[in-house]
Structure formats: structure tokens, C-alpha cells
């Protein structure tokens, strides 16, 4: 049964005023999300044991982020996956504001892929703090379409779900996209095979009939860890693909060259009319701005982070900006420099000319803040999430199990943390909230890594407007 057909919930998810009176999921506009959203009380966070000797599956962590609660800052529920070895990474909703016009559709199901296992879990969050499995798509069903390594999940209009797939069934290239129907069954491959080679993240802007996709590498290349030989051999990505969203084919590919090595997270501005957006080129430590001009997309670096000398390193340390996000009001771009140990916010009210607003130096190899509440920080800030009102920024510290082991080996031994900063969007400032800390080192089966964060009522990295 699709969520659009589901009878009324006992504990309904948030519905908000829609001008046309339709009760779909999400918010009528980005500004409506800012105005109408209640403060987040629950966070969903990916927790991981893959690649350690802990004999337990990865899990969906339910984190209490309600400051009035007795269990504030604690993992209050863990939904263990049915198998070990998944590497939970990114995840997404069955519906967002892009389906605002679909009466009865609910933002109720989390689609949670295993990056290594190619298994796709669908979890029902009707009871927000007691999620349960709806269904599981086994790897064999995915391999049938000559795809593997599921990454980004976006709902697309009318209840369907699109997932970027980084490899073929052998973990080699080309990757592509897998489409699920509104009953969470595999519909098939969305793109013509071979339309792209490498894949990673994507975002679509339907009113502009465009989708952008980025490039990591073949799964067999990045799974075991980062090998500089693979960069020299051209096995890592450096291209952006701009798709004709309706036709499902690539219109234009931009080769970013050395300025755009390993382009990861892709974020359009939320304003549905905008053609502007950003991509973090992690290895080059550049933030790429893209936009349409004269009917064609263009891309160039607008923020460049310099390498820094470290006494224990033979070579300068790159910043490695591994995650970025755009505030719901499109006023700020936030990002994390995982190796350097910095979270930052840039004013992007002039999208082509970002202006540094503020940053916090924490964790990583250069962060000034080395511990929170007495807990040593053993990695830099990585996966970000922002409250819908733009006033609270949260982050976790794990990148990817095998890459953590290379660059922050203590992350696997001690587990990740989830931190929070209070943001003043009028003043363009951010301050670490030292009263908040979620310690994934204190889990029942042992220290766990923590990756992506989502809110039940939508967030700055999943909502798209039709």
C-alpha cells in the first residue's frame, strides 16, 4: 500500500497550510518551511559497525534533540538492520515538499541503503521514536539491473523514489540510477545505461527541468580506502553532469579539471526558480558554484581552502570539505572541512560571490576545540544538518569506514560524536553549544560511527519544490 492510500495516522506527521487546500507532505514554499516548522525534537542518524570487529549490524539511531526532555542528547532507540555489513551512509524520505500537491501522501518512510551491501531498507516512522521495518530490498534485486552501491535517496514527484547507484553489479563502472515505485518495489533503471560513468550525489530542480549529478569513483576504487595512485590514474571523478530532468538524459557535462577533484555533495538553492547551486570538490578543497546562463550551465570555484602544514605530515594537509548544505532561506552555505577541523558558514545572498561569515575551529588536525564535555574529539566535523529555521547546526564526524581508518583511525575505536552549534542567521554567527553532545562511543554493542542526520519533518538537504 502506498502512503498516498494509507488511512489517517494515529500520530499524524506534520501537515502545513497549502494555498490550494491540498494536504500533501512538506511545505508550500521554502519560506513556509522556515515559518511553520516546529523545533526539531527527534533526529534520525545512521549508526555503523561495518568494518570493525563488533559483531553487530549497523543501525538507525533515534536521537532525542528536545532540550526539555530528560533524555536530551541521548540515543533513545536503535533499529538494528537485519544483516551485518551494510555501511549505512546516506538516506532519504519517500516524500518531501516536491509532492506537496499529492493529497494524502505522507513523509513517513525512510529509505536507508547499505552502501557496501547494496541492500535497501524501508523503515516506517509512523511512531517517530519506535520506527519499524516496512520492507527490505535484497541486493540480488538491485544487481538484476546491473547496479550496486546505492547512495543518495530523493523522492521524486508522485511518490516515486530515485537512488543514485555508484557502480554496476560488479562494483565497477558505469553507475546509474535506480527507481522505486510508491510501494517500494524496484521499478528499474531510470537512466539509459552508460549515460554517465561515475556517480555520487544528485539534486533536481524540477521547475528548471534540471538535475545535477556528481562523481566519486567506482565502488571497487573507493571502497577499500583512498589510494593516491587512483587519483593519478584518473580513477576519481572531476565532472558535473547537468541532466534534462524530464527526458532523463545528460544535457551537458562539465569537466572541472584539477580544481574539481572528487565533487561530492550537490545542493541547488531551495528557491524553486533558482538555477544556482554548489558542489563541494572534496579533494581539491574547493566549493564550486554552478548556474545557468544563456541556456547553458556553467561551474567554477568560488571558495578555495588552502592546504596547511602539519608537523606530523610529510605533505600539506588538504581541508577536505566533505559536506555542504544551503539554509532553507538560501542565505547561507554551511560546510565542514573534515581534515582541518572546521565548520563554516558563508553568506550566499549574492550566490556567485560567497562571503565568509563565521566558522568554528573544532576537531580534525587543526581544530582549536579538542574536546566537548570532556569527550576527546578524534575526527573533524563531517555530515551536517541544519534546523529548518536555520538556527541550529548539527554534525557528526565519520566519513566512510575505510577512509576514517586511514585519516582518523581512532574514530572506529572510540566512536563518533554528534555536535551542535547555535546559529544567528541575522548576524551571520555561530557558537558551539557545549551543553549538547551525543556520544556514539557509548552504544550497547560498543563504539559506533555516525553519519547522516535527518529530521522527521523535512530538512535542508532533502526538500525540493515542484
Amino acid at each position: 500500500m502506498s502512503d498516498a492510500e494509507r488511512p489517517g495516522d494515529a500520530e499524524p506527521h506534520a501537515h502545513h497550510d497549502h494555498e490550494d487546500g491540498v494536504e500533501g507532505p512538506g511545505y508550500a514554499t521554502p519560506q513556509a518551511a522556515v515559518e511553520d516548522a516546529e523545533r526539531e525534537q527527534t533526529a534520525y542518524v545512521m549508526g555503523l559497525y561495518v568494518g570493525t570487529d563488533v559483531d553487530a549490524p549497523d543501525f538507525l539511531a533515534v536521537v532525542d534533540v528536545d532540550p526539555d526532555s530528560d533524555t536530551y542528547g541521548e540515543v533513545v532507540e536503535r533499529l538494528e538492520m537485519p544483516n551485518r555489513g551494510d555501511e549505512l551512509h546516506h538516506f532519504g524520505w519517500n516524500a518531501c515538499s516536491s509532492s506537496c500537491h499529492v493529497d494524502g501522501l505522507e513523509r513517513q518512510h525512510l529509505v536507508i541503503p547499505g552502501q557496501r551491501s547494496s541492500r535497501i531498507h524501508v523503515v516506517d516512522t509512523q511512531e517517530r521514536r519506535d520506527p519499524e521495518f516496512e520492507t527490505v530490498i535484497e541486493p540480488e534485486e538491485v544487481y538484476e539491473h546491473d547496479l550496486s552501491a546505492p547512495h543518495t535517496v530523493h523522492c521524486i514527484p508522485d511518490g516515486e523514489i530515485l537512488i543514485s547507484m555508484l557502480g554496476d553489479a560488479d562494483g565497477d563502472l558505469p553507475g546509474g540510477f535506480l527507481e522505486l515505485d510508491d510501494d517500494f518495489e524496484v521499478e528499474g533503471r531510470w537512466d539509459p545505461p552508460g549515460e554517465i560513468e561515475m556517480n555520487y550525489d544528485f539534486w533536481y530542480q524540477p521547475r528548471r527541468n534540471v538535475m545535477v549529478s556528481t562523481e566519486w569513483a567506482a565502488p571497487k576504487t573507493y571502497y577499500p580506502g583512498f589510494d593516491l595512485e587512483d587519483v593519478e590514474a584518473g580513477n576519481y571523478g572531476q565532472r558535473l553532469h547537468f541532466w534534462d530532468w524530464e527526458a532523463g538524459v545528460v544535457d551537458r557535462t562539465i569537466d572541472l579539471g584539477e580544481e574539481g577533484l572528487i565533487p561530492l555533495e550537490a545542493r541547488f538553492l531551495h528557491t524553486p526558480e533558482s538555477t544556482h547551486g554548489y558542489v563541494g570538490a572534496a579533494l581539491s578543497s574547493n566549493i564550486i558554484h554552478f548556474h545557468e546562463d544563456d541556456g547553458e550551465y556553467h561551474a567554477e570555484p568560488v571558495i578555495e581552502f588552502d592546504d596547511r602544514e602539519h608537523p606530523d605530515w610529510d605533505m600539506p594537509v588538504p581541508a577536505l570539505p566533505t559536506d555542504i548544505l544551503v539554509s532553507m532561506d538560501d542565505r547561507y552555505l554551511f560546510g565542514s572541512n573534515w581534515l582541518h577541523g572546521e565548520v563554516w558558514m558563508y553568506d550566499v545572498s549574492d550566490p556567485s560571490n560567497p562571503r565568509r561569515a563565521d566558522s568554528i575551529s573544532i576537531g580534525g588536525y587543526f581544530g582549536d576545540i579538542r574536546e566537548v564535555q570532556g569527550r576527546e574529539l578524534v575526527a573533524g566535523p563531517q555530515m551536517l544538518q541544519l534546523s529548518l529555521d536555520g538556527e541550529r547546526l548539527y554534525w557528526t564526524t565519520s566519513l566512510f569506514s575505510s577512509w576514517d581508518d586511514q585519516f582518523f583511525p581512532e574514530e572506529g575505536e572510540k566512536g563518533s560524536v554528534m555536535c551542535k552549534a547555535d546559529v544567528n542567521p541575522r548576524k551571520g554567527t555561530m557558537t558551539l553549544d557545549e551543553d549538547f553532545l551525543v556520544d556514539f562511543g557509548e552504544m550497547p554493542h560498543g563504539p559506533a560511527r555516525a553519519h547522516e542526520i535527518r529530521w522527521p519533518d523535512g530538512d535542508c538537504t532533502s526538500d525540493v519544490w515542484q
Binding site: 555501511e87 551491501s117 560488479d170 565502488p219 571502497y223 595512485e229 605530515w313 610529510d314
Partner: protein, 115 residues
């Protein structure tokens, strides 16, 4: 040494699993089993991820004996295979074997390139 090809060492083989913290286990691996499958059947937890030979989460190092990979071990580069690294998810023993196992074995495959 390890190699690719169809296993012809039919029958059951004894595989010693040695962790770097000193722990050891012995599992009997049947003719149609991989090392990982036999360990799971015996209730011995080894790390794994894709189970197809693409991700290297299950990397072990062959200390003695002979085994074959049932599919190409795509996650391993030539330099890894030359040094005896194998993937337990697709590895079938041809003789009795001894393997260096545990999550930290996979960390041998790559190092921090800038440090």
C-alpha cells in the same frame, strides 16, 4: 599462494583464523563454501561488506596454505595480491590454510598518502 580459477581441491579443509590480538579459531570449510560462509555457519564473526569481492571489508592475509577466489577480487590491486591478501567472502580453500583476519587487516591495503 592465492590465485583465480575453478577450485579443484574438493572436500573439506581446515582453516585457522588468527586475529592480531592473539585470538584463534578453527573452521571447517566445505567444498562448496567460502571461508566467510563457513565462519558464519560456525558462529565465528568475521568482518564483511559487499560479499562479492568489490569492497575489501573482509580482507585477510594468507599465512600458509592455498586458496582460490571464485570471482575476480576486484577490491585488491596486484600489489595486495602479491603480498598474500585475500577476500574471505569469495575465497575457497584448496588445502588447509592459516589466515590473518580481523577488521584491521583491511587497513593494511592503504595508508595516509600525505603523512
Amino acid at each position: 599462494m592465492s590465485g583465480d580459477g575453478d577450485p579443484d581441491g574438493a572436500g573439506e579443509h581446515r582453516v585457522e583464523l588468527a586475529w592480531r590480538d592473539g585470538r584463534e579459531e578453527m573452521v571447517a570449510v566445505g567444498a562448496d563454501e567460502t571461508v566467510l560462509e563457513a565462519a558464519e555457519a560456525a558462529g565465528v564473526a568475521l568482518p564483511f561488506g559487499c560479499r562479492t569481492g568489490a569492497c575489501a571489508t573482509c580482507t585477510a592475509r594468507l599465512l600458509s596454505g592455498d586458496l582460490v577466489h571464485r570471482r575476480p577480487p576486484r577490491a585488491l590491486k596486484d600489489r595486495h595480491r602479491e603480498r598474500g591478501y585475500v577476500l574471505t567472502c569469495i575465497a575457497a580453500p584448496m588445502t588447509d590454510c592459516r589466515l590473518d583476519v580481523g577488521a584491521d587487516v583491511a587497513d593494511d591495503l592503504v595508508s595516509n598518502p600525505w603523512k
